[in-house]
Structure formats: structure tokens, C-alpha cells
């Protein structure tokens, strides 16, 4: 029966540094240098989980990133991370790991009843069974299915760890630090090129770390030492290249989970690097394939290369006896190393003959070889008890472990991310890169080059070529160790298992896909590899078929009677290995989720009782505590302040644009629908601009500062868009116009002084200026210097009252704001916020962002008469297209609530009184407020036919709250129709 033990000596573990982790609530001992997987094996904990569908007992299969079975939940509470391969987890003190997908435990799993129902779970079972009887059946069943056949569960708690993101650049990126990668990085590094060497393991060396040859180890150490000594080389471990993208952008993720990572000290658990490399050398190695045979998933059945890694790197070996089944020569490396560690090894070799050299070396170690044989069946349930061989030698062998050596699959993922399909190489019996762009190179096992000295030579050449491509010509090659040989591969590909065995023969361990599932998929017509994948789930999951894909498509090719290249591969997409969402999110979390924009007056608002509201990226003062504790009470009081006295509001968020040049007036005349060519200096004009499709883009004001200089304001929401639009028009449409534009939104602060006492307040603030109606009439503007600073005063009104906007350089905004409040104290001036500002404009009937929603025409908004008839302007031609002129368009109306006991809501759907309350109605309410002037709820809305229906009674419906109210359509200008207040 399967059992493993820690060898008394050897390995790369640090025996002087014992480590204790927690595994399923109990202490798990090991040494620094162990992985969670090696520690489990060393403690003879072979059964590590249950399989995905059938809940069959499963053990560790691999020693690297390809592990399909040994997935654990790491951490607890908020740091829980599910589905982490034990082979990639470094054993450290305090590590907490739990088994998953088994209840109550992997050893006694009640869900193993699924195994008895296995005929039900063949490929396509879910789709065939749970799609009926009704349309929504799948939605009903899915949660139950997922619960029964799931992996680990993520936590809902916020992740307390920190994830950093950084940008990097280099001349040569080398991916992988096996023999080829080390040679490539060192050769490129010797040229002086800036080199980044990325290794996913905690140590450099790749396959060399699993070997036992002292000379090769000395070569590895010498390479690493030299790399570390070169200032132009950045060699990083624990770093996986997750994807390659256009422009040689590589995404690297460093996993620092085993290192100190206290977020409060700014230490990240992971770092995602966006690396732009001029050239890339891929030395990503190869992954050993399992063989498909009956009960090949029993705990203790592992990859032969994994057995070798565990014995050489971690000093963990099967207790007494191992059987290795192979179709190629590389398995003998594992066999010889196991034998050297005292394990009795038997080899079943699919090939009828084995080279004399191998026979003699194996013989010297007492290894028994059965040529022309494979494994017929494995006996044992929670471990291997014995194996039955089939073929030339039908013998039964008691053993602790089985090593599978089905050949090697080059890791071609990165070479395929750019869209180049891999190519099947008959000699390598695997897919190798189908080609490279000019700046990409490949070396070593990922190219199908499995010999050590050949891989080193290929790596060195690739490093030199990459450096040369990046402009670094002179370098020195790296040579292989003196006695390195190019071992033979001599693979005899074999895909199908021996016939007759009754146990399940797995192709994909993680997704519980058997050879029978592949056959069913074939029989049912899912023959393309892409369909095979989706029908059986083969190649999905956290390992993405790293051990299973090639076997599966080879089997499908066999069933279809075509070649493997004809069958093709599925598409490789990033990420290469599982990646936690935290690494992708980086620091874009919490308050860093999106940028926040603050007015120059923000700090004053904070200190003086403002409550804020988000308006796009801006934090705007919504209302002030002097007026009330809630917006409902405060805004009404603030409105009354403006209607009866004077208020001060922060309007710094408005877009502000400097427009200069001899053609500036002509430019504005084309941009706005109304005329600006003859706007006098010292005057402001309201303007509306259209997109070229005739739909309203924005409104605002523009003041003429001098003959050739204008000062434009836009709405807060469209500030950036208008600026881009003006630049586009100048650069692309009218390059002949001599005009320059610059954004002043951040340069100038704006404050609105509004109300019947506005002039009085400003006169108190600026006693040296003549602010009389004659000196500064409605829509006039002037610049003056106050206390050493230029102030721009624009007499215009959003509220409908006598009002001014005071603009000043943002650095001085708080000082000026405080000065106005202090100087104008006798007028009773107080600040008012966005809610009151927006409500006052509804009473006046000014359109704003809610009406300017990029769907309305000038006529929809009642602004058609503004447009110049003779002059040309952007959007003029399409403004008059048939649809834009339809009398049935939804256009602007004012609305008054007729039922005083009810409330109006923005977004309510409007219906004629005789309509059935159903569907999209005849329009909707865009803006609503309580009118302090009219003592009732009023609103602006868009209604089919618009003011043709003035005086009619209609219905506003708000289905979400099941509310209806009667309204009357009125003019959208609720107050001061003659504009007396504006001109006061």
C-alpha cells in the first residue's frame, strides 16, 4: 500500500530550519525549502482530496504548476484563497491549509456516493438532464450542481492583503531559468543589455533543481552567481509570466505569500508588473504527460518526473517499491535516482526494446525492466496496493507508488498568446511553437530540445540573438558543463490504454474526464477539440489541461482517424496559471478605486458644515448644516435665501476654456448655434453647441475678454468633452483658423453670488468697483484687480435672480470666498449647495445635464429660435433631418403637481390622462423640485408633442413605488417670465 517517507539525508531542504504549518487543523511539520506537497508526502499524507465529480480519492500527481489534484484552501477568514496547488505553496511557519470538496474529510467522504452513480455523470450529462422541463430549469438546478461538484469557496470578506502594480522595461526578457533560460539570460546579460529573468519557482534552475548531478549543480550556481553580479540583470524568483500581449507587453506576477507581507507596512502579497520588453526569450520548459490506464488516478500514481523531484529536491521517496511506466527514455532518470535512494524500482516500458546503455545503467542499480509492457490496472482505493502489467509481461507487482512517463509537452502557452498556433513535432511527439515574431526567441525543452547541452547551447544562442536584436552585439556564449550529455528521448507515443480493464481511465484528473467521456463526445459529434473541451470540460479548471490536453486530442484524433496536427489544439489564453483577483485589481481598491476631484474650495466646505454628493468624479457641496440636517429641509431654506436675500455657491466645477487668436470669434461663431462673431468686448452670451449629428452637445456662456480672447464656460459634466471637441475641430476640421485653446477648469475657481441682494453683497466686498446696473449690466463682464489678484466678474444668472459669478485663480479661492462672506455679512449672505442650485434653475426653466443627455435637439429643448438662420454652425445640416423635425418628438415641458398630498419623483413616466398606465409612456420627468415660489412640486420633463399640450392634465407614474400623480403641463419657465429680476 502506498506510503512515502522522508529520506535521512539529501535534498535541498534546510534540515536545520524546521517549519510547522497547520493542515486541516493539525500541525504539519517540515523544513524550510519544502512545499506543502512535499511536506504532505514526507508525512505520508497521500490522500489529499476528492475528485471533482465522482469524489474519488486523489493524491498528489505532480511537483510543479501543472498539479491537477492537490488543491487546497490556503489561509482562513479574510485571507482565504481557494484552489491553490500544494506544489506551488512554500511551507512556512503559520501556513494554514484545508482540504476542499470533501465532507466530512477526504478519508471518509459522503459525496463518494457519486462514484456509484458514475454512469449518470458522463460527458453532457448536465446539459441533457437539467435543461428541462421548463425554460428556467437550468437556473434552478445550477446552484445545487455547483455545490455538489465544486472546488473551494472564496470568502466574502474584504481581502486585507496588499497587491501592488508596477511598470518595467527591459531589452531582453527571459522566461524560465532552467538550463536554457540561465544560458540565455547570462549570454544576453554579458552583452550589456538590460535583462529580466523571471522564474516562477522560488529558486533558479528549473529542471536542474530536480537533478542529482553535482557538476550540473555547480554550473547552475555559477550561472546564478554571475547573473546576480551583473548590474544590468534583474533576476526574479516566485514570478510567473502570466501573459504576453501586443507590443511585447508581458504581465508578470510575483507571489510573495511566503515572505513577510504586512499591508500596513506597505508590503504587498503579490506584485503585478507590466513589463515592456524589446525582445523575449521563452525558455519555459516542458511538462510531463501522464499515461492513460485503468485507475490511473489512484493516490500514489504520479508523474515519474515528480517522483524524481520529490526524491532529489525534497528528500521524499516511496517507502519501498515503485513501478514506473514509460514510453520514452527520460523516465530512467527518475528510476535511477529513486533506486539510488534505496527504492526498489520496476519499469514497464511500452517499447519493445530499450538501448543497451540504459539497460546497463538500470541493471547496475538493480532496476527490473519489462519491455513491451504497460500498466493494465491499478489495485487499491485510497492508495496503490499493486499494479497489473499488460502486454509482453502480464505480471502483478506490489508497490507504494507508480510513476507515469508519457512523454513531454513543451510549454508553448506564451508563444501562442499572440495568436500563433503551435505546431506538432513528430520527433518530440508534442506541440512546439508554430513560429515567433521577429523579437521573440525560444530555447530548450519548450522547443522540444530535451538534451542538457543542446538546451544550453540553444539558450545561449537565443540570448545572443535577443541581445543583438535589441542592439547589443558583443557577448560571450555560455557553455554546458563538461560532462553534460544529450540524453536520448526515443519516445514511442502511446495514447490508448490496454483493452479489457474495468476501472476508469482518466484523461483529465481535475475535471474527472475519462477516456470513455472522450469517446462519447466523439460519438455524439463533438469532434473538434474546442467542442470536446466544452462538452466534457476537459482542459478547463485551474490547471487548464496542462497534463491532459495532448492525451485528449491525440485520443480524439485516433477516434476520428486523423493525425494529431489535423486535430489541432485548443486556444491558449492568459493567464498561464491561476491568478488571484487581488493581483489584477492592484491598488485600485477602496478610496483608490477611481480618481476623486475636489473643488479649490473643498477644504472650506469641509470645515463649514457641508455635506457632499458625488457628481461624476467631483465631490460637490450638497447642502450646509446652517440650513438643515437633511437635504430635504436644507435645500428649501437655501433656495429661500437666494430668492429673498443673497447666497454664495461654489461653481468651480464648471468647465472653463481660454480661447485666443485672431480667428477666435469666427471659431466660436461656427461652434455655437447662435452668433458670436459680433459679441462686444466686456459682454457675455449664452450659447448652445451641437454635435455634428444635430443633437445638443452642451450649453454654457462665453465672455469676450478682448478682441482676440474669449472665456468659455461649459457644464460640469461636459467640460472634458467640449475641450476635446474644440481641439478636434481646430486640428482636424478647421486647421486654417488661427486659434489656440487651453483648459482653465483647474486654474480658475468660480463662485455664484445670487439673490436680490447680490449687488449689495459684492459692492461690500469690492467697494472700489462700480457695480451699478449701468456700469455692469446683465450679461456684462469685467476684470479687475482686488488685493493684488485678478478677479473676473460675470453678471449672469442660473437661478433667475440678480446674480454674478466671481472667478479667481484657484490658489486664492478660499481667501476670496471668505472675504465675500465676511464683507457682505450685513446682507445675511450664506453659502448654498448643489441641491438648491439645481432646484433654483428648475424654477427658472434652465436646462442642465439631465436634459442635455445627448438625445435631444435644440427644438426638443425649446431653444430652436436661438439658432442663426443665415450663418453656418456645426450640426446645422443634420439638425433639419426628418426625424429631428417630427412633431411627435419628446420635448421640454414644465409640470406642476396637482395633488398637494403627493410627491413627485424624477424619472417618473408620463402618460396622457386617458392612457393605460403601461410601457414607456409619452415621456418622463427629467428634474423635479419643491418650488418655494409656487409652494408645490414642479418639474421639467420631456413629453411627446411638448408644449402643444400646454394646460392638459396628465399622469406621472412611478412603477417602482406603485405611485401615480396628476400633473398639469405648463411653461417650463415657472418664475419671472419677463426677466425683471435678472435685469434688476
Amino acid at each position: 500500500m502506498t506510503s512515502f517517507r522522508r529520506l535521512p539525508q539529501g535534498g535541498r531542504i534546510q534540515r536545520a530550519r524546521p517549519v510547522t504549518a497547520r493542515f486541516d487543523g493539525k500541525a504539519l511539520g517540515g523544513f524550510a525549502g519544502d512545499t506543502l506537497a512535499s511536506a504532505l508526502l514526507a508525512n505520508d499524507k497521500l490522500l489529499v482530496g476528492r475528485s471533482f465529480k465522482y469524489h474519488r480519492p486523489r493524491g498528489i500527481v505532480a511537483a510543479g504548476i501543472e498539479e491537477p489534484n492537490a488543491l487546497f484552501t490556503i489561509g482562513d477568514g479574510a485571507t482565504t484563497e481557494p484552489n491553490v496547488a500544494a506544489t506551488m505553496v512554500e511551507l512556512v511557519d503559520g501556513l494554514v491549509a484545508r482540504t476542499q470538496n470533501a465532507w466530512p474529510s477526504p478519508d471518509f467522504d459522503l459525496m463518494a456516493v457519486n462514484s456509484l452513480l458514475s454512469p449518470l455523470f458522463q460527458s453532457g450529462f448536465y446539459y441533457k438532464t437539467f435543461m428541462g422541463p421548463t425554460k428556467g430549469s437550468w437556473m434552478f438546478y445550477e446552484p445545487f450542481i455547483r455545490k455538489a461538484a465544486g472546488l473551494g469557496a472564496a470568502t466574502d470578506l474584504a481581502d486585507p492583503d496588499r497587491y501592488d502594480m508596477r511598470f518595467a522595461f527591459c531589452d531582453v526578457l527571459v522566461v524560465g531559468s532552467g538550463p536554457a533560460g540561465l544560458a540565455a539570460a547570462l549570454t544576453a546579460g554579458r552583452s550589456g543589455a538590460r535583462v529580466v529573468l523571471a522564474e516562477q519557482d522560488r529558486d533558479f534552475g528549473g529542471s536542474l533543481l530536480s537533478g542529482s548531478d553535482a557538476e550540473q549543480e555547480a554550473w547552475r550556481v555559477a550561472c546564478v552567481d554571475e547573473l546576480n553580479s551583473l548590474p544590468n540583470v534583474e533576476a526574479v524568483t516566485r514570478t510567473t509570466v502570466q501573459g504576453l500581449y501586443d507590443g511585447n507587453l508581458a504581465v508578470l506576477v510575483e507571489n510573495r505569500s511566503s515572505l513577510p507581507h504586512d499591508a500596513r507596512k506597505g508590503q504587498p502579497r503579490m506584485v503585478l508588473t507590466q513589463l515592456r520588453a524589446r525582445t523575449i526569450v521563452m525558455a519555459t520548459g516542458a511538462i510531463e504527460r501522464p499515461l492513460v490506464f485503468s485507475n490511473n488516478d489512484r493516490p500514489g500514481v504520479m508523474l515519474a518526473s515528480a517522483l524524481r523531484t520529490y526524491v532529489n529536491r525534497f528528500a521524499v521517496a516511496p517507502d519501498k517499491r515503485a513501478v514506473i511506466v514509460t514510453n520514452n527514455d527520460t523516465a530512467y532518470d527518475a528510476a535511477l535516482d529513486l533506486a539510488a535512494a534505496g527504492v526498489a524500482v520496476t519499469i514497464a516500458d511500452h517499447r519493445a526494446s530499450v538501448s543497451a546503455d540504459i539497460l546497463s545503467r538500470a541493471g547496475a542499480r538493480g532496476i527490473a525492466i519489462f519491455p513491451g509492457s504497460g500498466i493494465f490496472d491499478v489495485e487499491g482505493s485510497k492508495g496503490v496496493r499493486r499494479v497489473k502489467l499488460g502486454g509482453a509481461h502480464a505480471v502483478t507487482i506490489e508497490c507504494d507508488a507508480v510513476g507515469m512517463a508519457g512523454g513531454w509537452s513543451p510549454v508553448v502557452h506564451l508563444s501562442s498568446h499572440g495568436g500563433i498556433k503551435p505546431r506538432y513535432d513528430e520527433a518530440a511527439a508534442g506541440f512546439v511553437p508554430g513560429g515567433f515574431p521577429a523579437s521573440h526567441f525560444g530555447a530548450g525543452a519548450m522547443m522540444g530540445t530535451y538534451g542538457l547541452s543542446a538546451a544550453i547551447a540553444e539558450g545561449s544562442n537565443a540570448g545572443a540573438s535577443a541581445a543583438s536584436h535589441a542592439g547589443f552585439g558583443k557577448t560571450r556564449p555560455v557553455y554546458a558543463p563538461e560532462h553534460a550529455t544529450d540524453r536520448s528521448y526515443a519516445i514511442l507515443p502511446s495514447w490508448s490504454p490496454p483493452q479489457g480493464a474495468k476501472g476508469k481511465a482518466f484523461v483529465d484528473f481535475q475535471n474527472d474526464v475519462t477516456i470513455k467521456d472522450v469517446k462519447i463526445a466523439h460519438q455524439e459529434g463533438y469532434r473538434s477539440v474546442e467542442h470536446l473541451k466544452r462538452y466534457t470540460t476537459l482542459g478547463m479548471g485551474t490547471d487548464q489541461g496542462k497534463t491532459s490536453n495532448i492525451n485528449a486530442l491525440a485520443l480524439m484524433a485516433e477516434y476520428r482517424g486523423i493525425t494529431i496536427p489535423e486535430a489541432g489544439t485548443t486556444t491558449f489564453r492568459p493567464p498561464y496559471a491561476p491568478l488571484t483577483m487581488g493581483a489584477i485589481a492592484g491598488r485600485t481598491v477602496g478610496s483608490h478605486f477611481r480618481p476623486v476631484r475636489l473643488s479649490p474650495l473643498h477644504d472650506w466646505h469641509v470645515k463649514n458644515g457641508a455635506t457632499f454628493i458625488d457628481a461624476g468624479l467631483w465631490k460637490r457641496a450638497w447642502f450646509y448644516s446652517w440650513a438643515g440636517a437633511t437635504p430635504e429641509t436644507a435645500y428649501v431654506k437655501e433656495m429661500e435665501l437666494v430668492r429673498r436675500g443673497v447666497g454664495l455657491a461654489d461653481v468651480s466645477t464648471l468647465g472653463k476654456i481660454d480661447i485666443q487668436g485672431p480667428d477666435a470669434a469666427e471659431f466660436l461663431n461656427r461652434v455655437y448655434v447662435n452668433g458670436f462673431a459680433k459679441l462686444p468686448v466686456g459682454k457675455v452670451r449664452y450659447g448652445v453647441m451641437l454635435n455634428d449629428d444635430g443633437i445638443v452637445l452642451d450649453d454654457g456662456t462665453t465672455a469676450r475678454i478682448s478682441e482676440n480672447q474669449f472665456y468659455m464656460t461649459t457644464t460640469t459634466a461636459q467640460a472634458g468633452e467640449v475641450m476635446s471637441w474644440l481641439e478636434y475641430l481646430l486640428q482636424m476640421q478647421w486647421p486654417e483658423l488661427n486659434v489656440q485653446v487651453a483648459s482653465l477648469t483647474d486654474e480658475w475657481a468660480g463662485m455664484a453670488v445670487s439673490g436680490p441682494k447680490a449687488r449689495e453683497a459684492l459692492q461690500l466686498a469690492f467697494p472700489g468697483e462700480d457695480l451699478s446696473n449701468e456700469a455692469l449690466p446683465y450679461m456684462g463682464c469685467k476684470d479687475f484687480v482686488f488685493d493684488g489678484v485678478t478677479v473676473r466678474l460675470l453678471r449672469m444668472s442660473f437661478s433667475g435672480e440678480l446674480a454674478y459669478e466671481v472667478h479667481v485663480a484657484a490658489d486664492h479661492a478660499i481667501s476670496l470666498w471668505e472675504h465675500i462672506l465676511k464683507a457682505a455679512t450685513p446682507t445675511g449672505i450664506m453659502p448654498y449647495g448643489l441641491e438648491a442650485l439645481a432646484s433654483l434653475r428648475i424654477e427658472k426653466g434652465h436646462v442642465a445635464g439631465l436634459e442635455l443627455d445627448h438625445r435631444n435637439t435644440l427644438d426638443d429643448l425649446g431653444l430652436g429660435k436661438m439658432a442663426g438662420k443665415e450663418k453656418d454652425y456645426v450640426g446645422k445640416a443634420l439638425r433639419f433631418r426628418e426625424d429631428c423635425q417630427s412633431p411627435d418628438r419628446w420635448s421640454l415641458v414644465g409640470l406642476e403637481l396637482m395633488e398637494p398630498d403627493k410627491k413627485l419623483r424624477g424619472g417618473s413616466i408620463l402618460f396622457a390622462a386617458s392612457d393605460e398606465i403601461k410601457g414607456h409612456g409619452r415621456g418622463y420627468i427629467t428634474s423635479v423640485t419643491w418650488s418655494t415660489e409656487l409652494n408645490k412640486f414642479i418639474a421639467l420633463g420631456l413629453y411627446k408633442g411638448g408644449l402643444k399640450h400646454e394646460g392638459e392634465e396628465i399622469i406621472a407614474a412611478f412603477p417602482l413605488k406603485n405611485e401615480q400623480a396628476r400633473l398639469k403641463i405648463v411653461s417650463p419657465h415657472f418664475i419671472d417670465h419677463e426677466g425683471v429680476r435678472l435685469h434688476a
Binding site: 502594480m165 518595467a168 476623486v596 476631484r597 475636489l598 469641509v606 483647474d746 485663480a809 490658489d811 478660499i814
Partner: protein
């Protein structure tokens, strides 16, 4: 004169033995843009040599010039600078001193911190003193000027300054004295 108030007045200060991150006020920023073919010559008469590319700054005495676009320059001068009035009429002159906050990042880890914020090659051989990058931090446009071996100025839009400050100091958290 009306008192100036910093956009970072209420920002959390950053303290580190190895890294200085601090606002560097006391400058005048003037944007100038050409309205005539001889614009650059006129500008050079007043402000001195012009930077040849967007990627380089030109320092002339107390002023540093950045080329920020086709026929557009920034002139960063001392707190009191008459360059705007001297250029009036020769080109479009737009004072922008209030529009930007200048954040200095100085010290051995400065490049490491910036590498977490801007997609720019910051290797000493590439982004050497005098280099300029028109780039972005936290989705907002910034201009980064290398003014010394490990000393950088980041010109940030005033209304985003607090947010960018937070992003910079967060990136530098591991170098802080008392994180």
C-alpha cells in the same frame, strides 16, 4: 495680497528617512502657444533656448521650459515672473500657476515609487536629469520632470492633487518612517 491656499493643505504628510515627498510651491506656470510662424523665435528671445522635443526640458536660469504639444510650451519660472507680460501680444499666453500642484519626489527609492505609478521607462540611462514625460497617474494627466539623479517633480492637476498625492504616498508606503 489675497492669501494662497494649497490644494494639499489637508493632505496627510509623508515622512521617510530615505524619501522626500512634498509639495514644492513657489513657482509660476505660464502656458504659451503660437499664433504666428515666428512664434518660437519670439519665445526664444524672451525665455531663452527651447527644448527640442517633448521628452526634454530646457532650463534657462530660473526658468524651465517644457514643450507640451505642437507650438505649445510651459514656462515654469520663479514665484514672481514677468514672462507673461513680456510675451503678451507675441503669442497666446495663459497663466496656469493655480492649475497645477508641483509634488517633489526625491531620494534613492524615488524611481521605484514612480515605477508603480507611470508607464515610463525610468532607468537612469533613459530617464536622466532633464527628461520629461507627459503621462498619467491614477487616470489623471501629469507631467513628470527629472530634475536630478533621484529627484523628480510631478505636475498634477490641482483638482486631482489630493487624490494623486494619496496615490503617490500609498505607493511609497513601504519607505515611510511610520506607515
Amino acid at each position: 495680497m489675497l492669501e494662497r491656499r494649497s490644494a494639499l493643505a489637508s493632505a496627510k504628510p509623508y515622512k521617510s528617512a530615505v524619501l522626500t515627498i512634498a509639495e514644492r510651491p513657489g513657482f509660476t506656470l505660464t502656458q504659451v502657444a503660437g499664433l504666428s510662424p515666428d512664434f518660437e523665435a519670439k519665445l526664444a528671445d524672451v525665455a531663452g533656448s527651447l527644448p527640442e522635443t517633448v521628452a526634454r526640458a530646457q532650463s534657462n536660469g530660473e526658468r524651465t521650459l517644457f514643450r507640451i504639444g505642437p507650438a505649445q510650451f510651459w514656462i515654469v519660472g520663479p514665484e514672481t515672473d514677468d514672462v507673461a507680460s513680456r510675451l503678451a501680444g507675441a503669442c497666446a499666453v495663459t497663466p496656469l500657476t493655480s492649475s497645477r500642484v508641483r509634488i517633489g519626489i526625491e531620494g534613492a527609492p524615488a524611481r521605484d515609487v514612480l515605477a508603480m505609478l507611470i508607464p515610463v521607462d525610468l532607468h537612469r540611462s533613459v530617464f536622466a536629469p532633464g527628461s520629461v514625460a507627459l503621462t498619467g497617474i491614477h487616470h489623471t494627466p501629469v507631467t513628470v520632470h527629472c530634475r536630478g539623479e533621484d529627484a523628480f517633480d510631478v505636475y498634477v492637476m490641482r483638482t486631482f492633487a489630493r487624490d494623486v498625492w494619496d496615490a503617490i504616498t500609498d505607493a511609497a508606503l513601504r519607505f515611510a518612517d511610520d506607515p
